[in-house]
């Protein structure tokens, strides 16, 4: 019953051939099997948002999926956010606006925000506050995170 099964994942465009138990969450798999430790694990039951990644363009909690369910999906983690030209505008904005302090929640906020700005580039502040309410930050506070995402939104819109 605890037999390992072959699971193929595609993370940040790179294929991973794994042999894992079906009960292994996607969050644990990214960290422990793919060795992509940028995705953080907080509460492990969907409340804190630290493990948020992007699956097929949608922000999801990677602790609330089993890795076996993510086969065939285009998975994006914080490791894939920066491009060949350097940091993603969200990453730069988080630094500029002091949107992180200890940094534990940051990968989750970045991926949540990246998917949101991709899907709704014109999202207004009220809707963005609602989106960001999904994740917990226990040191910086949310104001700077909101400011950073709004700033990155302006940068991204200037580019397009």
């Amino acid at each position: 019953m605890t037999d390992k099964i072959p699971v193929k994942l595609t993370v940040n465009g790179r294929p991973y051939d794994l042999l894992i138990e079906p009960r292994q969450t996607l969050a644990d798999t990214l960290r422990e099997s793919c060795r992509l430790t940028g995705t953080h694990i907080g509460c492990e039951h969907g409340v804190c948002g630290a493990c948020t990644i992007v699956a097929d363009g949608y922000a999801v909690r990677s602790c609330l999926m089993f890795a076996v369910q993510a086969q065939g999906m285009d998975l994006r983690t914080v490791e894939g956010l920066a491009g060949p030209d350097g940091l993603h505008p969200l990453q730069t904005a988080f630094m500029e606006h002091h949107a992180l302090q200890c940094g534990y929640c940051t990968p989750g906020f970045l991926m949540l925000s990246a998917a949101t700005l991709q899907q709704t580039p014109d999202i207004d502040e009220e809707a963005l506050v609602d989106v960001l309410s999904s994740n917990l930050c226990r040191c910086t506070g949310y104001k700077n995170i909101l400011t950073a995402v709004r700033s990155a939104q302006a940068t991204l819109k200037g580019r397009s």
Partner: protein, 296 residues
């Protein structure tokens, strides 16, 4: 890899990935008595597995059954397949304008469900099966007379939402059955609706919620529906309140009296966070605010 069991809180299970409903119900028939369980969005089941409140020996993942992702209106009935995510309903006011007030109502209600990443994954039918007393979709299903379509290897049957919910997280579903679809009748084009929910923080479970719909015909209220959730063990329509509204001339006093009536006819659940008197006050508040929302 390192770690082993230390990393994995859910108990071991055998994973099954059917591609059709027939395969899914055949797997259920085979494994139901041996701890077989369906997973769709998993946004309630996976946390329960993490806490080992649930430890299914067989997990039957219906996500590959793409036919269950159907969201369509036919013969004045909206069909919501078992893989329709909350987020699909959240955006349907724009994406399916032909559905009319029902589409706008479901979009409005969806926004109160948990948070965006949960809504991207969790499903309408999964919420119905989970039957949490504070579930927004259970409230909507009870208020709008939804029909629950149930399949097993034995038969297909259709159950009214009012009969489907039987207690806190308890439904009419047998272990070898699965919900494949929920059907909600279209609302008349002139239907007004309002929804209001009180929770301690955005995205938290509702402490109280109300959904109100009605029409105004010849200056009088017609087809009133007043549903409450999160207050009793089951969401339900308040017949006594609806009866007082039907045929009456709408006005602030009438609605205020209806909200007062709602607060007296409910039988609030005891819990460790509130007292019944508070839930009665919340009932009055959510019914009144839902009604106010219906004016906009």
């Amino acid at each position: 890899m390192r770690g082993g069991a230390r990393l994995m809180k859910p108990a071991p299970f055998t994973y099954h990935a059917p591609h059709t409903v027939e395969e899914a119900v055949a797997l259920l028939a085979e494994y139901a008595e041996d701890g077989g369980r369906v997973i769709a969005g998993g946004q309630s089941l996976v946390p329960m597995m993490a806490f080992r409140l649930a430890a299914p020996a067989h997990l039957i993942d219906i996500n590959p059954v793409t036919a269950l992702g159907r969201l369509a209106i036919e013969d004045d009935v909206l069909s919501i397949g078992a893989l329709v995510r909350h987020a699909m309903l959240e955006t349907m006011a724009e994406s399916m304008t032909d559905v009319g007030p029902l589409g706008r109502l479901l979009s409005t209600v969806a926004r109160s469900i948990a948070h965006l990443p949960i809504r991207n994954r969790g499903t309408f039918c999964g919420s119905i099966v989970h039957a949490d007393p504070s579930s927004e979709w259970c409230l909507a299903a009870a208020t709008l007379s939804a029909e629950i379509v149930i399949r097993s290897a034995r038969a297909t049957r259709v159950v009214q939402a009012g009969d489907f919910f039987q207690g806190i997280m308890t439904t009419d579903l047998a272990p070898d059955e699965m919900v494949v679809e929920c059907r909600i009748p279209r609302l008349a084009a002139d239907t007004r609706f309002g929804f209001h929910e009180v929770s301690r923080r955005a995205g938290d479970y509702a402490m109280a919620a109300a959904l109100v719909t009605y029409r105004i015909v010849d200056g009088r209220i017609a087809d009133p529906r007043v549903g409450i959730g999160g207050i009793e063990a089951l969401p339900r329509r308040l017949d006594a309140v609806e009866a007082a509204l039907a045929g009456a001339v709408p006005g602030p006093d009438l609605f205020r009296a209806a909200a007062e009536r709602a607060a007296t006819v409910v039988d609030p659940m005891p819990d460790d966070k509130t007292v019944p008197a508070l839930r009665r006050r919340l009932t009055r508040g959510v019914v009144e605010r839902a009604r106010k929302g219906s004016l906009s």
